[in-house]
């Protein structure tokens, strides 16, 4: 280990129980997985109870809530559907995220076995495993995600910066300019009157002053 310039002697040593309580992250190679297991069958019941209201009983999504399944082969489409099955590169992320941050509004309420079961069910919903599959810390890294090779590291330094650098055009840069699209045609900006973009003075006058709120 490198030598350090100085130590301030601040803080105290973290206890193993404290690290175990907070350090829950799981890496793509399975580092961080807790011991445990769960089946598609158990996952279906747990998912319906804990997740289905927002994500749909088949993980297909309800309303604007995220779809967790479907969208295979749509990534190059006009409107790609990015789900665990169609987009996510690593299964570790599903376990890690569900375990720590789901259900929305009641996070960290699921046991490790329940998260294995839910993860198994999400795999099943994406046609990645059969209905008798049991996921555990032992077979976890054997699962192959369809879009595992779909990502590449930021290459803007090679593909963009060289072509968008240097002295830009200042005069006679193009012969003509036409308006090709207008925001007011879509008309999706929030506004309280039909006439103007939202923060107009008149509308503000109708709202309580901050001091009074």
């Amino acid at each position: 280990a490198p030598a350090f310039a100085e130590s301030y002697g601040l803080g105290r040593e973290a206890l193993p129980e404290e690290i175990a309580a907070w350090d829950l992250d799981v890496s793509p190679d399975g580092t961080g997985l807790p011991p445990g297991s769960g089946s598609v069958e158990d996952g279906e019941a747990i998912f319906a109870e804990a997740c289905g209201a927002c994500h749909g009983v088949f993980a297909e999504g309800v309303g604007n809530w995220p779809k967790l399944a479907g969208g295979d082969g749509t990534l190059a489409n006009e409107d790609p559907v990015k789900t665990v099955g169609s987009y996510w590169p690593y299964l570790s992320t599903t376990f890690d995220y569900v375990h720590r941050s789901m259900p929305f509004g009641n996070a960290q309420s699921l046991t490790a076995d329940e998260v294995y079961a839910i993860t198994a069910y999400i795999l099943y919903s994406n046609f990645i495993v059969e209905d008798d599959f049991v996921l555990s810390n032992d077979n976890f890294t054997e699962v192959e995600m369809p879009n595992a090779d779909g990502f590449f590291v930021d290459d803007r330094a090679e593909t963009e910066y060289p072509i968008w650098s240097g002295e830009p055009c200042m005069q006679n840069c193009k012969d003509s300019v036409e308006i090709t699209m207008r925001a007011t045609v879509l008309d999706v900006t929030p506004e309280e009157t039909a006439e103007e973009a939202a923060p107009a003075a008149e509308e503000a006058a109708a709202e309580p002053a901050p001091e009074a709120a």
Binding site: G11, I19, D23, S27, D154, R156, S176, A183, A197, P210
Partner: protein
């Protein structure tokens, strides 16, 4: 306050009045008063009576006439307002420092309330000694002060497919710029005896339910990342991470983890949800860029703009806006009034600061004709802000994040402006 006193600042009334006046004085230089102004000739109540005492407002808010200078959200953008975004009213601000009270928010499980006595920060992983700090511990380390912009990776993201939202607040308002006080991340890593080798990574996460965990390469962690507890002179606002957040200069806002609770030194990236499912940029062929951390050079004219129309008729006009770059300093901003056919170099209010907002002005004379206003930023690396067409040519339409295209406002003869795309 009565409606009468408000009507003096009403934009529509103002517009009506000034357009009429503008016609009368066109080409005539300075306006001539039609008669004595009662605001001058009659004694006004504020010149006669008394104002508020110094005990009226222990911590003040803006005067009510400025009540339109507020954060706004766009309900259809997200499934609910908890994991959502709102927008800084950049169309109405000037200078570069964002008032904290109207600086945008982006949460994934809401703005949590975390008191200083309850605050703990853990440093663990590849360290000689895993540590727990209290808030009070953090205030005893040597401090730094820096001004940086925090721009959401999704700023302007709704505009990839076309001109959608009509106002700079909505198209470019997922940004704020503050002066931060804090401890360098390097100091805390050294205190724990972390392995600082160049191939190591630092995983950071927040105390909220979403955790917002992100992986940062060691080189950046040791360079300029701050563990900040003050912004613009005072404690962080609850919604901005009180009492402690990460400041990651020049890099996408998602990595500025709020309510920071844990820093883990690791052999590799976690590839968390926020760096796989989200904050990855789908290209035209369906493959996706990951780890697109830096926010490239960008600018926008904040006035005139759809929410800040020209209300004074022809004559002297201040065109102003903001420019910034995650690669360093802004060195130049050019402004076009004709949709990019010709450009003039604007005046920077101050020399560009490293990875911070820069204010530009073009002091000009408006002849009352239509304009297609654009701004184009250049940074110290020589990078020139591209057009949306140039970006689309490389990336397609579905990359969601990192839209730093040149924005066009169509300013009409009546002074109103609209978000448009041009050929």
């Amino acid at each position: 306050m009565t409606q009468d006193s408000k009507s003096g600042t009403s934009r529509r009334a103002f517009l009506r009045g000034t357009l009429a006046a503008g016609t009368a004085v066109a080409g005539a230089g300075m306006a001539r008063a039609a008669g004595p102004d009662p605001l001058i000739t009659e004694v006004q109540p504020w010149a006669q009576g008394l104002g508020d005492g110094v005990d009226a407002t222990p911590y003040g808010l803006p005067i009510e006439f400025e009540s339109d200078v507020i954060r706004r959200n766009v309900p259809w953008l997200t499934a609910d307002p908890i994991s959502s975004i709102n927008f800084t009213p950049i169309h109405a601000l000037d200078g570069t420092i964002t008032p904290q009270g109207c600086a945008f928010e982006r949460h994934h499980s809401g703005a949590i309330e975390l008191a200083k006595p309850d605050y703990r920060l853990m440093v663990n992983g590849l360290v000689e000694k895993p540590l727990v700090f209290t808030y009070a511990d953090l205030e005893r380390f040597p401090r730094e002060n820096h001004v940086y912009f925090c721009e959401c990776a999704a700023n302007t993201g709704m505009e990839w497919a076309g001109a959608q939202l009509n106002g700079a607040q909505f198209t470019h308002g997922m940004i704020h710029n503050m002066e931060y006080t804090g401890v360098s991340l390097r100091t805390l890593l050294e205190e724990a005896g972390a392995d600082l080798s160049g191939d190591k990574w630092v995983y950071v996460e927040g105390a909220d339910a979403s955790s917002n965990g992100r992986s940062i390469p060691m080189e950046k962690a040791l360079d300029d990342v701050l563990v900040a507890f003050k912004a613009n002179g005072e404690a962080l606002r609850k919604e901005h991470g009180y009492p402690v957040r990460l400041v990651v200069p020049g890099w996408e806002g998602n990595m500025w983890v709020k309510w920071l609770r844990r820093i883990e030194v690791m052999d590799g990236p976690v590839e968390s949800r926020e760096e796989t499912s989200k904050y990855t940029d789908v290209m035209e062929d369906g493959s996706a860029r990951k780890w697109t951390w830096v926010m490239d050079a960008k600018s926008v004219v904040t006035s005139p703009s759809p929410q800040s129309p020209i209300t004074h008729g022809a004559g002297p006009l201040v065109i102003t806006g903001l420019a910034w770059s995650g690669h360093g300093r802004i060195t130049r901003v050019d402004v076009s009034k004709d949709g990019g056919m010709t450009w003039e170099t604007a005046r920077l209010a101050r020399e560009g600061e490293n990875k911070a907002l820069t204010r530009f002005y073009l002091d000009t004379e408006w002849d009352g004709s239509e304009m297609l206003l654009q701004s184009r930023a250049m940074d110290e690396t020589g990078y020139v802000q591209p057009t949306k067409a140039q970006l689309r040519e490389v990336r397609g339409l579905n990359s969601v994040y990192h839209n730093n295209c040149i924005q066009t406002w169509h300013v009409k003869e009546n002074g109103e402006a609209e978000n448009v795309e041009v050929s």
